[in-house]
């Protein structure tokens, strides 16, 4: 395998490790708002690393741009979803909606 392939494998492995850590947090944290931290942050970093690894594999500008777009949009969706769910959970458990 060439050096670039090795780099791609390393990045994808790191991405999968982040996904695993995210699920570990999901299993261990006590309530939904804490779980949201683990879910959105770890999974998005994992997605970014996987996109980076696949971009190295693809080795074309168009492919790399598309992968970057997927990652940015994924972060956008996760950010909004996490915020909305956490806000509703806060209200439901009696906290202050900010």
């Amino acid at each position: 395998m060439s050096g670039l392939d090795l780099l791609a494998v390393a990045l994808v492995c790191a991405g999968c490790a982040f996904f695993l850590t995210g699920t570990l947090g999901l299993l261990r944290f006590p309530d939904p708002r804490a779980r949201l931290h683990a879910l959105t942050k770890a999974d998005n970093v994992g997605l970014g690393l996987i996109c980076a690894g696949l971009g190295v594999l693809d080795a074309s500008v168009a492919g790399a741009l598309k992968l970057a777009l997927v990652w940015v949009l994924g972060m956008l969706a996760s950010t909004l979803s996490a915020f909305l769910i956490a806000r509703q959970e806060t209200v439901r458990s009696g906290g202050q909606r900010r």
Partner: protein, 89 residues
């Protein structure tokens, strides 16, 4: 490389399934929404990995369309439609 990508996809799928089963059993209702989010991000990652097993990577567009519409579920979940029967939590 193709085998490696499939192995990574398998790992992510196992990851997601364990997460969903655990979130299903939890006492908080919001965790069900978290399950959908988890499957969402993981499915995008798996689609990307599976995409690069072929040439051209056509599943890339599937991942793109999916991630574009991923926020809709959460938005609908926190805004219940007015037609729903009024239940106080």
């Amino acid at each position: 490389m193709s085998g490696f990508l499939l192995a990574a996809a398998l790992l992510l799928l196992l990851n997601a399934v364990v997460g969903v089963v655990s979130l299903y059993a939890s006492p908080y209702p919001a965790d069900r929404m978290l399950a959908i989010l988890l499957i969402g991000s993981t499915t995008v990652a798996i689609l990307l990995l599976l995409a690069y097993r072929h040439e051209p990577p056509v599943l890339l567009e599937v991942a793109l369309s999916f991630v574009l519409l991923a926020a809709i579920g959460s938005i609908a979940f926190v805004q219940q439609r007015l037609r729903a029967p009024p239940h106080e939590p």
